[in-house]
Symmetry: C2
Subunit: 220 residues, 2 copies
């Protein structure tokens, strides 16, 4: 039967016209990591002079996550039939491979599309704006970073809760469950949590300063 | 057939053991509005002395929305079989009635439960904390209000996008679609949008003040 040729769980998921992934996991990962390393290096050296190391690290994160949201996740949102793609297009390969960790991607689960849509269309461009805001020391820098980070956390919550409610049985095997579904997404829980805490503290400190301590010192 | 006794759309939604709503729409609405008016009045007069009118209005909103999140939405999240309830329990009646505007509530759609769960468990208590934060002029007041409002907006986006992706056919008729699904939820788009803009502006103003203009004046 055509439907059973795909490698995804649940086995009865219907994916008529499915074309198997043609790139190896290591090739897909190597391309993603080297492209990301390239972006991070460009940002690091481009904004090297005036900014602190932490600011540069944050700019690297926002550039990396913003491009991931816009390019990778944007492709997923607007390519409902990526699993039929037979051109070895890299972006289709990524999602065919990732669907082994969560078949709701291939299956076009509406909660996944909603979260990915918000991430790609709103949080992606906002992340690139955060790079600019940090570089230029804009007054909205912290509040923008907080807003995007909270959005990423909200998205992860919806993503994990809906999978749990539907039986948490969308991974091909335990390896893909822990490396793709938990491992890859874990970074988008951990880093937004850290950034949220920092920005929250900075914003409260600024509010406190305005209320009680007149000072010209710029908070960092 | 038992399944066809419920009034919801789609007609093939399975709700075995469904007990029809026993209260009238006007009774349900009257109880909700008078309980809300009571809460709003208590907050308005309790925090009457030291706060501006806008602050008092905001505290009323946060008390109203916080209790709605915790009590109404909390009941929904943790009562998967509310549609079988035969005790005329008010909270079950609310959700039986509201399901005429969006049957995904009676049908336990996982995206709806995820959003309502986050709203009831995180945003509900946080909203009550916002009442306290405004009353006491806490430094985290604006950032907390912004965070909750953005959460409410994100939740509404997921709520509307998932319905759209699944065919937008969950209302018993146009009246329920526009009054319950659009009308009732519209307030949780409009007010969080207004609060987000205001808090964003206040936070940026505080950051600007810290950076450039030393002043003892508390921003309002």
């Amino acid at each position: 039967m055509e439907e059973s040729t795909h490698p995804y769980i649940p086995r009865d998921l219907k994916l008529p016209g499915y074309v198997p992934v043609s790139m190896s996991m290591s090739s897909i990962l190597t391309i993603y990591l080297s492209a990301s390393l390239f972006v991070v290096s460009v940002v690091w050296f481009l904004f090297g002079r005036k900014n602190t190391k932490l600011d540069k690290l944050l700019m690297c994160w926002w550039a990396f996550t913003g491009l991931t949201h816009m390019i990778l996740e944007g492709y997923f949102v607007f390519s409902p039939e990526f699993y039929k793609n037979n051109t070895s297009c890299y972006l289709a390969e990524v999602w065919k491979e990732y669907s082994k960790g969560d078949s709701r991607y291939a299956g076009r689960d509406s909660a996944v599309i909603a979260v990915e849509g918000i991430t790609a269309v709103i949080e992606g461009p906002a992340s690139l704006l955060a790079v600019y805001a940090i570089a230029k020391g804009k007054s909205y820098s912290y509040v923008l970073q907080l807003a995007i980070s909270l959005g990423q956390l909200y998205g992860c919550l919806v993503y994990f809760i809906t999978a749990f409610l539907e039986g948490d049985n969308f991974a091909t095997n335990a390896f893909y469950y822990y490396s793709y579904y938990i491992g890859a997404n874990g970074w988008w829980v951990l880093i937004p949590l850290l950034i949220s805490f920092r920005c929250w503290k900075k914003i409260c400190a600024a509010a406190n300063n305005v209320e009680t301590k007149p000072t010209k010192k710029k908070i960092r």
